[in-house]
């Protein structure tokens, strides 16, 4: 299907606003900005983001989910054609009979608006020069680190667009992006280079979160303590095509990228690709000069498939757990039943390793009793508070970030833990029912490495959903005990115990019981 892009000359009429959304009539596709009391909150494409109503050429764009909770009260709502700044609607509007003015702000009272992915963020149009300076410093800081690691990075995506088009950050943007094009031409080499760059940056003291095998985020701590993440998108040339994560694949020449040029961003010079016109056309299409705050990338499926196959798959279900731990929950006061059960059967001197330790509750509990304990999880925020408590109390608890979807992480962590001799107790509580088969097999590989000198693996997972409450709380998917046993045996384990336990009624809300399986395995 041919995609109809916004074109000049759209006539917008019959605008109405209610609790459901904004309705407007326009034969042509048009980008509209929504402002509350004079401040831009949201932008959309009328046809792409709306649904047809029964009236000809009239579309209803529902309020985005993320904005719903703010829609109570009164505001002067205006609707403007983005390109021409023509106001097509302006009225006092009241939602849900609220009497106060609507304030779309965060807990600290700072103004928020929706970015193109409909996330509520502090966009640049609401920030002053003194807010923007730390971002420019952060860009400088990360570029310096990358340069020292042998990578010539440049401004990319929205940051490049803002610099080239307006010499500044784009008002409706909220972060800065960097990119680079590897000197290598094979995905394997580009990935290995990305690993080396990460290692060099970590050595220099940067904190990195990897998104894929070719893209990562560099955290920059600003003077007020706020942590800002800059995305670094890796790329490479292959068969006459530029491949850049994020996501571009287009016929291109290396000389259009390097040697890099410079462009001014908020009065400071930053590196940019040699031919910014061609680069921006590859990113945003030939109409890149026309501002569009609601722009969505229209990437061919084949490009997604290539990038997914080559570089992705190491963050499956990560957003879910990032959300769970976003508020940095503290460890619970009581340990899990599995921890108590294992402790009642094992020598307290045997160190414990908890795979998927979450908030670190069990790790802390073991350490407080004098059992050395290590917690592994792929979300650092989950165990940060337990880690701080353990440090303050001086107990023998250690926490490591380990991603079961990265073979390097599994083997590297396994080797580190196996360097200490002697038997261990390994716990995997609600891990088997929370991760994919690939991650599970890696978990069992890790357990095998850690149990090199003996000891036991205690696994607990959901085998019957019951009323669903436990499954919901644990984000668990039902597994059969046969499936898990088969996986463990395939890696040389012996199942020495297997019990299906009906959860006591106090642990559930409905009538139908949830059941869990507890399994003990060894590699003798």
């Amino acid at each position: 299907m041919r995609r109809l892009f916004p074109r000049p000359g759209a006539q917008v009429s019959s605008v109405s606003v209610d609790a459901e959304g904004i309705t407007a009539r326009s034969r042509r596709e048009v980008v509209l900005d929504v402002s509350f009391d004079g401040r831009r909150i949201h932008s959309f494409w009328l046809h792409r983001d709306g649904r047809r109503t029964s009236v000809p050429h009239t579309w209803l764009v529902p309020w985005p989910q993320s904005l719903q909770r703010f829609l109570s009260g009164t505001t002067r709502l205006s609707l403007t054609v983005h390109e021409t700044q023509q106001v097509v609607f302006e009225e006092e509007v009241t939602f849900r009979d609220g009497t106060d003015r609507i304030a779309v702000v965060n807990a600290a009272g700072q103004p928020l608006s929706l970015d193109k992915s409909l996330r509520l963020v502090q966009t640049f149009d609401t920030r002053s020069e003194q807010h923007v300076r730390p971002l420019l410093d952060a860009i400088d800081h990360v570029l310096t680190g990358l340069d020292r690691a042998g990578i010539q990075a440049f401004l990319a995506y929205g940051t490049l667009l803002g610099a080239v088009r307006d010499g500044g950050l784009i008002g409706h943007d909220s972060d800065a992006d960097l990119g680079y094009v590897s000197k290598h031409e094979h995905p394997v080499d580009a990935i290995r280079e990305s690993f080396h760059v990460q290692r060099a940056l970590v050595e220099m003291g940067y904190r990195i979160t990897r998104y894929s095998a070719l893209a990562f985020k560099v955290d920059v701590v600003e003077s007020d303590g706020v942590v800002r993440g800059l995305d670094v998108f890796g790329g490479f040339m292959r068969d006459g095509y530029l491949h850049l994560m994020g996501e571009i694949r287009t016929p291109f020449k290396r000389e259009w990228v390097t040697p890099l040029g410079t462009a001014s961003l908020e009065g400071r010079a930053f590196p940019v690709p040699a031919d910014t016109d061609r680069f921006l056309a590859a990113t945003y299409g030939k109409s890149w000069r026309v501002p569009d705050p609601a722009f969505h990338f229209a990437t061919p499926r084949s490009t997604h498939r290539r990038f997914d196959g080559w570089f992705r798959g190491i963050r499956v279900r990560r957003p879910l757990w990032d959300r769970v731990y976003a508020r940095r929950p503290g460890p619970a006061a009581e340990p899990s039943e599995l921890a108590r059960w294992a402790a009642s059967r094992e020598d307290p001197a045997t160190p414990v390793v908890d795979l998927g330790c979450g908030t670190g509750t069990d790790v802390l509990w073991f350490a407080r009793q004098g059992t050395p304990a290590t917690g592994l999880d792929f979300v650092r925020k989950g165990f940060e508070r337990a880690e701080a408590e353990a440090t303050a109390e001086g107990v023998d608890a250690r926490f490591l970030v380990c991603n079961l979807l990265e073979l390097r992480s599994v083997l590297g962590t396994g080797a580190l833990l196996a360097a200490d001799r002697g038997p261990r107790v390994v716990l995997a509580r609600h891990l088997a029912d929370g991760v994919s088969r690939r991650a599970r097999l890696n978990a069992w590989r890790l357990a095998r490495m850690v149990l090199h000198d003996g000891g036991r693996l205690y696994v607990e997972f959901l085998v019957q959903r019951g009323d669903g409450d436990l499954a919901k709380r644990q984000k668990a998917q039902v597994r059969t005990s046969r499936m898990i046993a088969r996986e463990l045996r395939s890696l040389g384990a012996t199942i020495v115990e297997r019990d299906v336990v009906r959860l006591p009624s106090g642990d559930r809300t409905g009538r139908s019981p949830a059941k869990i399986c507890r399994m003990v395995a060894t590699w003798e």
């Binding site: 690993f195 990460q198 290692r199 498939r305 196959g309 390097r408």
Partner: protein, 72 residues
């Protein structure tokens, strides 16, 4: 029944078969692509973990392991 729909019916199984084969081929291509990351990871383990490990003493070994784990 018109000629066109008869032809369409006769063609349908072939089209379906082709769809299935394309889907299977796409999955197989994806499997091959996924080997790139595997290979890069294994090479990284050998060059940046095993090689340094084989060259150091006990203390260096531990330091190498810690550094490698932290660099992921």
């Amino acid at each position: 029944m018109g000629m066109k729909s008869i032809v369409g019916r006769l063609k349908a199984p072939a089209t379906n078969d082709l769809r299935k084969r394309v889907a299977a081929l796409e999955a197989e291509v994806q499997e091959c692509r996924q080997l790139n990351l595997r290979l890069a990871e294994l090479t990284d383990i050998v060059t940046d973990l095993l090689v340094p490990l084989s060259r150091g003493d006990e203390a260096a070994l531990r330091e190498t392991l810690v550094k490698y784990q932290e660099s992921l």
